[in-house]
């Protein structure tokens, strides 16, 4: 099969799959997620290269993958809707210390995830001290601490 077709098909398939599985699907929450990611990489590598281990094939595929990425990023810049469809938009999951249940459930984030992020970044220990928690486009949870809350 033509390397261009191979590269583009794999690129688009992975893009679609990870979009379907959700932002938080493989954001290295656990060690096993990381291992799974490695395995997926291994399988993809075989599908990309097939039986052809030539340098030319490798270079072609790198160019195809980078090129597709470049093209897509240009398109995303040009069409805002496309960017939001492909990458999603940030989503507020905690507002003024109150978890927004429905949003959290739908996006697969639980209170523990939010608290973990809060602990890691700011040493915040309670939900009350969080002004905003936002599920960012890359699946990370960013925390905005509540300044008005007196620190214990």
């Amino acid at each position: 099969m033509n390397p261009l077709v191979r590269g583009v098909v794999i690129y688009l398939f992975l893009l679609l799959l990870f979009r379907i599985l959700g932002k938080r699907s493989l954001s290295q929450i656990t060690t096993f997620d990381f291992v799974l990611l490695l395995i997926i990489g291994e399988v993809t590598q075989q599908a990309l290269l097939g039986q052809d281990y030539s340098i030319t094939n490798a270079l072609i595929l790198i160019i195809v993958l980078m090129g597709t990425d470049l093209l897509l990023s240009k398109l995303k810049k040009r069409f805002g809707l496309l960017a939001r469809i492909i990458e999603g938009a940030p989503l507020i999951v905690v507002e003024n210390g109150k978890p927004l249940e429905m949003r959290m459930k739908k996006s697969g984030v639980d209170e523990e995830d939010v608290l973990e992020s809060a602990r890691l970044r700011f040493g915040i220990t309670r939900m009350k001290e969080i002004k905003y928690a936002i599920l960012e486009r890359d699946g990370e949870i960013s925390i905005v601490p509540d300044k008005s809350e007196p620190e214990a």
């Binding site: 469809i85 999603g88 940030p90």
Partner: protein, 180 residues
């Protein structure tokens, strides 16, 4: 509104969740289909070729005249087992089952070789020749009551392939789909 500057798109987000949920169901269904062999290696894929018509009468009927080289066998029985779904560059097995056949002659159309490469035939034929656009493999089967001849094939082109294999003058239609 909120004092936070953020470009949320909640209507789109809700749509995305809906699509995601539909896709999750689809993924589970797809996994079931994979388990059953929609992409090869499973009961959905493994099948027996249907005998189109027999040049030597109905062999399934008891006591029917045996086809070529019956050697006085009671009733000769032939069938072909193959993969309906195969994947490009991934080996598949086509098995010719023979019963009470003194010898075997398998004819494969040459055009078949455009899609498949025969990697190995087991047991190896004692003779192979080409006639009328077909490759003819001949096997001596001795007095074996039951015999299987394995054709290990490597698909080289994706797409639908169908063709007729002839075993001891019985014609079988093999229809396969090769995934890219």
């Amino acid at each position: 509104m909120e004092p936070i500057q953020i470009h949320e798109d909640f209507p789109l987000q809700k749509k995305a969740w809906k699509i995601q949920e539909i896709c999750w169901v689809f993924i589970v269904l797809l996994m079931a289909a994979i388990a059953l062999g929609l992409f090869g290696n499973g009961p959905l894929s493994r099948s027996h070729a249907i005998e189109e018509n027999s040049l030597a009468g109905n062999a399934h009927r008891k006591g029917a005249t045996p086809a070529t080289g019956g050697d006085g066998a009671v009733s000769e029985d032939v069938s072909i087992e193959y993969d309906r779904f195969a994947r490009n560059e991934s080996q598949t097995e086509t098995v010719v089952h023979l019963r009470n056949a003194g010898s075997a002659e398998v004819r494969i159309p040459v055009s078949f070789m455009n899609t498949f490469r025969i990697e190995r035939i087991f047991p190896p034929p004692f003779e192979s020749r080409i006639a009328n656009g077909e490759i003819i493999y001949s096997f001596k089967t001795g007095n074996s009551h039951k015999l299987r001849i394995y054709f290990f094939l490597l698909p080289r082109e994706p797409g639908r392939v169908s063709g007729y294999w002839t075993v001891n003058q019985k014609i079988f239609r093999l229809s396969q789909f090769i995934y890219p």
